[in-house]
């Protein structure tokens, strides 16, 4: 066996066992529960806010008969298109709308005055531009009154819809991007902490003297990757079992363009390459830092840059074949995200083989760069002290 790989496996096995056998691994497994619980709580709250609180309220300062016609028209329209799609209407006292809006206790975004056939909408220009159509629709319905026709729509079902399929594939691509991104960020942070801990324990010199630094980096990346697959398998099985129980065995998800088996395989590969790219970059950074504080300072810009890269891939997801999408697929750090979205929407497999090879080349380049930085900066001499990175000239020899 290649010596670099053999040594990497020794290190990976140690790191993997240390994490899996630790009590904190239970927390790692249960970790996704917290964002899910928070997501559900905030999701419900958000829905409530969206449904009730965020809808703007428009005051009606019309003569009573006109106001009543407007309210009736509002109820009729809300029954057909849903109240969430219309602003609230609430009766207000008469008077100059401009003075009403200027009062400290004013709770209206705008005020509609005048009459039903000649409504006047008062408010800020930016608000009026999007409220004007809604008020016009309500006033038109009020004018029509009982004569407002209610045309029935006949439903015609199909089993296949290319448009719907494209939409669901787009959704699958976006979901896969988000999942890979979140997992990658989580694990890259963990591998970085792991290296800093190694430096704190002073084990790093023993490793550096016994095996190539490439093996140290590779071993650490492999251990965390293996650990993440344990977590993914655990959660994947849990989600699958839940779906089977809730939706029944006949439940099927909309298939991505390349089909589920290849999509899942590509997902695992792209997750691995995205993680290896970011993880090795973080290891290179970790090699420069002596303390967790330094790590946080150093990885902040990288994390921000990675967010930018992720947004590029997200932006490109529904622009297949466009320049941004091709750029996202070529740029190594966004390539895994862009390509998994492509796998959801395009059945061609060969671009993935090309992308995987391309990403693998970059993984090896980034690892080499990290190793170079490590050898250049880490084991200068003596005790690794805080702040060494910024005080190179004060390095002492023993």
């Amino acid at each position: 066996m290649n010596e670099v790989l053999r040594a990497a496996l020794v290190i990976a096995r140690r790191d993997f066992s240390a994490v899996i056998l630790s009590k904190t691994f239970i927390l790692f497994l249960l970790g996704p529960l917290f964002p899910i619980a928070i997501g559900m709580a905030f999701g419900g709250l958000g829905e409530k806010i969206t449904a009730e609180g965020v809808r703007p309220t428009v005051g009606i300062a019309m003569p009573a008969p006109d106001a009543a016609r407007m309210q009736r028209a509002y109820r009729a329209l809300a029954g057909r298109i849903g109240p969430q799609n219309l602003p609230h209407l609430r009766q207000t006292s008469g008077g100059d709308p401009r003075l009403l809006l200027a009062r400290p206790d004013a709770r209206f975004i705008a005020i509609v005055s005048g009459t039903v056939d000649r409504p006047v909408l008062t408010g800020k220009a930016a608000d009026l531009s999007w409220l004007e159509g809604d008020i016009s629709l309500i006033a038109s319905a009020a004018l029509a009154g009982e004569r407002l026709p209610h045309v029935q729509v006949r439903r015609q079902f199909v089993t296949e819809s290319s448009g719907a399929q494209a939409q669901s594939r787009l959704l699958t691509g976006r979901a896969a991007q988000v999942l890979i991104f979140l997992l990658t960020m989580l694990l890259a942070g963990m591998v970085l902490s792991n290296l800093v801990e190694e430096k704190t324990n002073k084990v790093i010199e023993i490793l550096a003297a016994a095996v190539p630094i490439d093996s140290v980096f590779l071993g650490k990346l492999m251990a965390m990757l293996a650990m993440s697959f344990v977590g993914i398998s655990f959660w994947g099985a849990g989600v699958f079992a839940s779906l089977m129980v809730v939706a029944g065995p006949g439940f099927t998800l909309p298939a991505p363009a390349v089909g589920w088996p290849i999509f899942l395989l590509l997902g695992a590969i792209y997750f691995s390459t995205a993680y290896a790219l970011l993880g090795s970059l973080f290891l290179g950074i970790g090699a420069q830092a002596a303390t967790v504080r330094e790590v946080q300072t150093l990885n902040m810009p990288v994390t921000m840059a990675q967010m930018g890269v992720f947004f590029l891939a997200t932006y490109a997801v529904d622009r297949m074949g466009s320049a941004p999408e091709i750029a996202a697929a070529i740029f190594p750090f966004s390539s895994p995200f862009a390509m998994i979205a492509r796998a959801a929407q395009d059945a061609a497999v060969w671009p993935h083989l090309l992308a995987i090879a391309w990403q693998a080349v970059w993984v090896s380049i980034i690892i080499r760069l990290g190793v170079w930085l490590f050898r250049r900066h880490v084991l200068k001499s003596g005790v690794i002290r805080s702040g060494r990175l910024f005080r190179r000239r004060s390095a002492s020899a023993r």
């Binding site: 324990n201 790093i204 023993i206 003297a209 084991l379 001499s381 020899a397 023993r398």
Partner: protein
């Protein structure tokens, strides 16, 4: 491939020629030539900050020199010989949650020893050294001395041909220092080359066949302990009943009177002409001793009094700690 083909036994286990390593504008290693004979116990002696650790790291291939070349067991790529080398760094490092036997086996595995064999050997070694009850204890539960022993066993578990120890006696009590000295001698008896650094002259004097005295990133002396001591002339200490007489003219010009005795270097022509003059001049010899200088005196003469003083301070600081 690292260590797949063990190199034939070279004359020198470790060689370095013109080694230079700088950090910024600081010359940690400044043109060092070193040759460690295979099968010997070799000491690198110098105060803290002399460049010993950087020299060892450079020789082992942990860091690359800016200039010069090195060979380890005949190989100019030191890591290729990793399986045949054991290294105990000055900064002791172990995983706190790892069990003692597992830690020893892991260090062996890093250098190519199968884990199964490593575990068996580790248990045997620890048990043999009275640590049988601790083999399955996590490192964090062991005393500092026990943890150091675990690390030392991890250094030799794979039966290396070369052992490099950076300040191995640092932090050990007298009993454990004695045990370590015995272990070093035992390894050397088995043909293993032992290269170690120290700032304690006594260890080098007791153990080493050859030494290198390092100060300011340079080697000030390289050779046997005997050669180092031979750089100083034997010291003569003479006490006479008479305080003056013609015999005084036979004493060397640099003679110093101290505590009622005469001190001077043994003259080139030997002690006999002086003895004759003392007897003829009826000096009344009370005592006469010729002492060979110790390594400490040699160190002072070679590296300078300041370096020697710093070594003493380092040792005192360590003892206090």
């Amino acid at each position: 491939m690292i260590g797949d083909t063990p190199a034939p036994y070279p004359t020198y286990a470790v060689e370095g020629h013109g080694l230079v390593k700088t950090f910024g504008d600081f010359h940690a290693v400044d043109g060092i030539d070193i040759a460690v004979p295979a099968g010997s116990i070799y000491g690198v002696l110098g105060p803290n900050g002399a460049g010993k650790t950087t020299l060892l790291r450079t020789l082992l291939g942990i860091i690359d020199p800016d200039e010069g070349r090195r060979t380890l067991l005949g190989d100019d790529v030191p890591l290729r010989q990793a399986r045949s080398v054991g290294y105990l760094p000055e900064e002791r490092g172990l995983y706190p949650s790892m069990k003692a036997a597992e830690a020893v086996a892991f260090m062996g595995a890093l250098r190519g020893l199968p884990l199964k064999i490593g575990r068996e050997r580790a248990r045997a070694m620890l048990t043999e050294h009275g640590m049988g009850a601790s083999v399955d204890k996590p490192i964090r539960q062991l005393s500092k001395g026990m943890a150091q022993t675990v690390q030392l066993f991890g250094t030799i578990i794979h039966e290396p041909r070369l052992i490099v120890l950076d300040e191995p006696f640092s932090g050990l009590d007298a009993i454990n220092q004695g045990k370590l000295e015995a272990l070093i001698r035992e390894q050397a008896r088995q043909g293993v080359t032992v290269l170690f650094s120290t700032h304690v002259i006594a260890h080098a004097e007791r153990l080493c066949e050859r030494i290198a005295i390092v100060a300011g990133g340079r080697i000030r002396f390289e050779g046997s302990v005997s050669d180092a001591r031979d750089r100083l002339r034997p010291q003569v200490r003479l006490r006479t009943r008479a305080s003056d007489g013609n015999w005084r003219r036979a004493l060397p010009v640099e003679t110093v009177a101290e505590d009622g005795a005469w001190h001077f270097d043994l003259p080139d022509e030997g002690i006999e002409p002086l003895l004759r003059a003392l007897l003829d001049g009826q000096a009344g010899i009370e005592s006469l001793s010729i002492e060979r200088p110790g390594l400490h005196d040699a160190f002072v003469a070679i590296a300078g009094a300041a370096a020697a003083r710093q070594m003493e301070e380092d040792r005192a600081r360590e003892a206090a700690a």
